[in-house]
């Protein structure tokens, strides 16, 4: 009887341990599939899901946050993917997060990747429809890589041509290998250096010159620094001053004179303003003019007169010669 009890106890332990293993194992499997976490269900529409199936993982920034719960077509070019997201992760995912379909490794299972949206957007909620982006199709990527490879081939061919030409073309190569060019450049640099040094010497001289001028050495220095000249100059200015004073006196006299001229009672004014006098003067001038005309005529007549005629002819002749 005692042995039977012991056996029963052993059997109980056996059953208990085995059941515990089963429950723990199932719990771990379930927890990996997010079965025992409270979760929300959201969805996204894709044009091509590339083999995604129910149970595939959903990742947010690389962390597993849920599983795909349902995949079904809703139109001829649209597949609806419903998936769960662990409740504890929802506070980090905004409702404008984008969803794409990726692969775990190069050949691994398909999975849904959630990329975060803007921080200020609303938190994700049950039933949200997320924005989807086109999944990366390995075959189309390979096509792009093929094009890139072809381009690379052309580019390397061209590079090969260029380097061959560089090797074969003597003039270019000579230019690169010619030591004279380098020598010339070196000489030019030396000359340039000399020029610089000379410039420095000139600058030094110039500064000395300026210093000398300041110190009153040389003609310009003397000119600029001689105090006697300054005195002479001030004397001259004084003279100019006295001249202008004299001029002022003269102009004052001239003023008095013009005043007298303006005075109608003065002799000069009378003379200038008397119209009869002016008339007489005019007729006198006319008379003088007439007299001069007559005189001209007399003189012309005199030219043609016999005793003087020969003299004018000779004069004309000598002018022509």
């Amino acid at each position: 009887m005692k042995e039977q009890t012991l056996n029963r106890a052993k059997l109980g332990a056996f059953v208990l341990i085995a059941t515990t293993f089963l429950i723990v194992g199932l719990y771990f499997i379930g927890s990996k599939k997010n079965i025992f976490h409270s979760s929300i269900s959201v969805s996204a529409n894709f044009s091509n899901i590339g083999g995604l199936i129910q149970g595939n993982n959903v990742r947010f920034n690389g962390i597993n946050v849920g599983v795909v719960s349902k995949v079904y077509p809703i139109a001829d070019t649209a597949i609806k993917v419903e998936f769960t997201i662990d409740q504890s992760s929802t506070k980090y995912i905004s409702s404008d997060a984008t969803v794409s379909i990726g692969t775990d490794g190069l050949l691994g299972n398909k999975l849904v990747n959630i990329s975060p949206g803007k921080k200020k957007s609303k938190q994700i909620e049950e039933g949200n429809l997320l924005i989807s982006t086109r999944p990366i199709q390995i075959d189309s990527e390979l096509r792009t890589i093929t094009t890139t490879n072809n381009n690379l081939k052309v580019i390397t061919d061209n590079l090969k041509d260029v380097s061959e030409k560089l090797n074969n073309n003597n003039s270019l190569w000579q230019l690169l290998t010619d030591t004279r060019v380098a020598d010339n450049i070196r000489k030019a640099i030396v000359t340039f250096k000399l020029t610089g040094e000379n410039t420095a010497v000139i600058t030094g001289n110039l500064s000395k010159f300026v210093t000398d001028i300041k110190a009153g050495k040389g003609t310009i220095g003397a000119l600029l620094t001689d105090t006697s000249i300054t005195e002479k100059l001030s004397q001259t200015i004084i003279n100019i001053n006295s001249i202008s004073d004299t001029m002022a006196i003269i102009s004052g006299d001239f003023k008095t004179f013009s005043k007298k001229l303006n005075n109608k009672n003065s002799t000069l004014s009378t003379l200038l303003s008397d119209t009869a006098f002016v008339h007489n003067l005019n007729s006198s001038i006319i008379n003088i003019k007439d007299g001069a005309d007559n005189f001209n005529k007399n003189m012309e007549a005199l030219k043609h007169s016999w005793p003087l005629k020969k003299y004018f002819k000779q004069q004309k002749k000598s002018k022509q010669n």
């Binding site: 029963r8 056996f14 085995a18 059941t19 293993f21 194992g25 499997i29 927890s31 599939k33």
Partner: protein
């Protein structure tokens, strides 16, 4: 001669079918031989555990060591735990455990009941007012049905530990990472079908062992034959059930 063998086979099949029906008739009718059931559970469960445990451990270790070179050739060494765990849990551990049990339990039941039969103990039991079918058959079959899944679960655990050691022989991997990898790869549809399957394995082993024992003839010579044919038939039926389980799982897309 051939027709006699065929007739014998068909007759035996019919007998087994009737025996099974009788089991279901008797099995769910009171009174239940609980004490004997627990005894049988102890003998089938506890006494088989060391054998099953060691076998499971070795299988886990060996499968890992054998898979390592081919996984390495694909550059998928890191997938070794997941691959090995799936193959162990889904197929290898349930079938190996069932075969071990077919050998140990099937032969044991066959020999025990056979010797009881030939020494007319069963008839004596009937005379004394105890239902021998209930006391001997129903308890053993139920015990096998209940213990086989538990043995498979424990064997799974031990085999996965063996696989952990196997993985660590070639590379260094923490137990935490190992368990993470296997539990993220395993699904309910890997574990539950294998456990449901092992109920049927247990039933088949128990019922065939009992049938062979109950139908023993020709004295002590027949006892040995009964034990032997119980193991052979049970092993064969285990594979048939495994095939059917795989087919059914495939039909219901539990893959």
């Amino acid at each position: 001669m051939k027709s006699k063998a065929l007739t014998n086979l068909l007759k035996e099949t019919a007998d087994l079918y009737l025996f099974t029906i009788r089991f279901f008739k008797e099995g769910f009718k009171p009174r239940f031989e609980v004490s004997e059931l627990i005894n049988q559970c102890f003998y089938i469960g506890n006494k088989t555990l060391p054998l099953v445990g060691i076998t499971g451990f070795i299988m886990g270790l060996v499968i890992t060591i054998q898979s390592h070179p081919s996984m390495k050739a694909f550059g998928a060494e890191s997938w070794l735990p997941s691959v090995v765990s799936v193959s162990l849990v889904r197929e290898i551990v349930p079938v190996i455990t069932a075969l071990i049990c077919a050998g140990k339990i099937g032969s044991g039941i066959g020999a025990e009941l056979g010797s009881m039969k030939v020494t007319e103990q069963i008839d004596a039991m009937e005379v004394s007012g105890t239902n021998p079918f209930k006391y001997l058959v129903v308890t053993r079959v139920f015990a096998a049905m209940l213990m086989l899944p538990l043995l498979v679960i424990l064997s799974d655990a031990i085999a996965l530990y063996g696989a952990y050691i196997g993985v660590n022989m070639k590379q260094v991997i923490s137990f935490q990472l190992y368990s993470n990898q296997i539990f993220s790869k395993l699904t309910f549809s890997d574990v539950l079908p294998s456990i449901i399957k092992s109920f049927f394995f247990g039933f088949a082993i128990g019922i065939i062992g009992c049938f062979k024992g109950f139908s023993t003839k020709n004295g002590t010579q027949g006892v040995g034959r009964a034990a032997n044919s119980a193991v052979v038939a049970a092993t064969f039926v285990v594979f048939i059930i495994d095939l059917m389980a795989a087919q059914i799982a495939d039909i219901f897309s539990i893959t």
